[in-house]
């Protein structure tokens, strides 16, 4: 396999990457060597994954498109029935690339226009302070009415926010404890129904979810609606 000198850079999208590959090899955009380009493209995507870069779905769609075009090119062509020319399977891609390249050139031209235009500085429009502010004609009665309105506002009791009595972290430790004492397994129902108040149940449930997320425990259920079992994981990685 030829050694592609892959310089990992941030491409804005699949077309950006394709343009780079085409320009790098000075390929004629109207006669793209699909097999070669598709291979380079996919190699690049794999390299991106290796470097732990997120490959956006748009890139994958393009990879699929390239492969589809490649397979159409490789398949033997059916006998030509009409006078029409066979449509080049690469045509759609070529059109997209040509359009994209035009836009890139236009974007560059706009950037230059902007740079030039920024050399000219303008003034903000002059502000004329409007001293005569218009005041609605109001009467003394209006004033009394609004004062009345203020005085009749009821006093509200300050709302009482109860302190959360059950700490999820504590529950997590408690559950691990219980599991260790109980031969590393417990029934889910046992853990939950032990609790008295609703907030305690919620705290326990959250603790179980968190422990699962941290890979401290696993759960299993034989069939839908059968007993759920919770197991302590042996291969503990100290994350807590």
């Amino acid at each position: 396999m030829p050694n592609y000198n892959i310089k990992i850079q941030d491409f804005e999208g699949p077309l950006d990457l394709l343009m780079h590959l085409i320009e790098k090899d000075k390929v004629d955009i109207y006669d793209i060597p699909i097999v070669d380009i598709a291979e380079q493209y996919i190699t690049y995507l794999n390299a991106m994954k290796e470097f732990d870069m997120d490959v956006a779905s748009d890139f994958l769609v393009m990879a699929a498109t390239l492969l589809q075009i490649k397979s159409r090119m490789l398949l033997p062509k059916p006998p030509v029935e009409s006078e029409e020319e066979q449509e080049d399977p690469r045509q759609m891609l070529v059109d997209m690339l040509v359009e994209y390249r035009k836009i890139r050139i236009q974007a560059k031209m706009l950037t230059e226009s902007l740079a030039t235009a920024l050399g000219y500085h303008q003034r903000k429009p002059m502000q004329f302070p409007d001293i005569r502010k218009k005041i609605k004609p109001l009467s003394f009665d209006d004033l009394i009415d609004s004062l009345n309105g203020l005085l009749t506002i009821q006093e509200h009791e300050p709302a009482l926010i109860e302190r959360q009595r059950f700490n999820v972290q504590d529950k997590m430790n408690k559950i691990i404890d219980l599991l260790e004492k109980n031969n590393h397994s417990l029934e889910f129902s046992a853990l939950i129904t032990n609790n008295v108040s609703r907030s305690e149940i919620i705290a326990s449930f959250l603790a179980i979810l968190e422990l699962m997320r941290l890979n401290r425990i696993t759960i299993s259920q034989a069939r839908p609606f059968s007993t759920i079992f919770i197991f302590l994981r042996e291969d503990m990685t100290d994350v807590l």
């Binding site: 077309l15 780079h20 836009i103 974007a107 031209m109 706009l110 235009a117 920024l118 429009p125």
Partner: protein, 182 residues
């Protein structure tokens, strides 16, 4: 020229306005014809041509505006701490699509760029360079976008027709990326 005395009037109006004034507006205020305004502007431009003058008239957004000459760009920047308009290359490409192909829908933009444009379009809307220009009469009645007057003023164009045309020789496979679109 008997209307020569109006030269100061035009200058004063442009100075106070700051932003571009259309020749119709100027003509209405001065109670004269647009052709007269054009000639007055030409006279002003003549006055400003000398190297001793720091300001000039530019034609943008279908109007006239008094601005400092680009020769004094760095000088003015010392005076004002202006928030420079910084557009990413993605934003610039999307803006180019809208500017050259308006009116255009989001999916039409996405078809050209090959990626989603939602974030970029929202950024451009925030800068005021583009705006919603109604809906397309096709299925789903998608919103169509166009450039604004602020776009014309910021980029120094008199109208959309003034946008630079593509160079004739498109086979120039010069890598556009090498010319840093910063």
């Amino acid at each position: 020229m008997f209307y020569d005395y109006l030269r100061g009037h035009v200058e004063a109006l442009l100075f106070a306005a700051g932003e571009p004034l259309s020749k119709k507006r100027i003509a209405d205020i001065l109670q004269t014809e647009t052709e007269t305004v054009e000639r007055l502007i030409a006279l002003l431009e003549e006055d400003y041509r000398s190297k001793n003058r720091g300001i000039c008239v530019r034609c943008v957004a279908d109007g006239y505006q008094l601005v400092t000459k680009p020769d004094f760009d760095n000088l003015i920047r010392q005076l004002i701490s202006q928030q420079e308009l910084k557009l990413s290359s993605a934003a610039m490409e999307t803006l180019a699509i809208i500017a050259f192909k308006q009116p255009v829908t989001r999916s039409e933009m996405e078809a050209i760029r090959g990626v989603k444009v939602d974030g970029v379009v929202n950024t451009l809307l925030d800068t005021g360079l583009i705006c919603e220009a109604g809906r397309k009469e096709s299925i789903g009645k998608p919103i169509i976008y166009g450039t604004t007057e602020l776009f014309l003023t910021t980029f120094g164009f008199n109208s959309i027709e003034d946008l630079p045309a593509l160079p004739e020789d498109l086979s120039v496979l010069q890598s556009v990326k090498d010319q840093a679109i910063s």
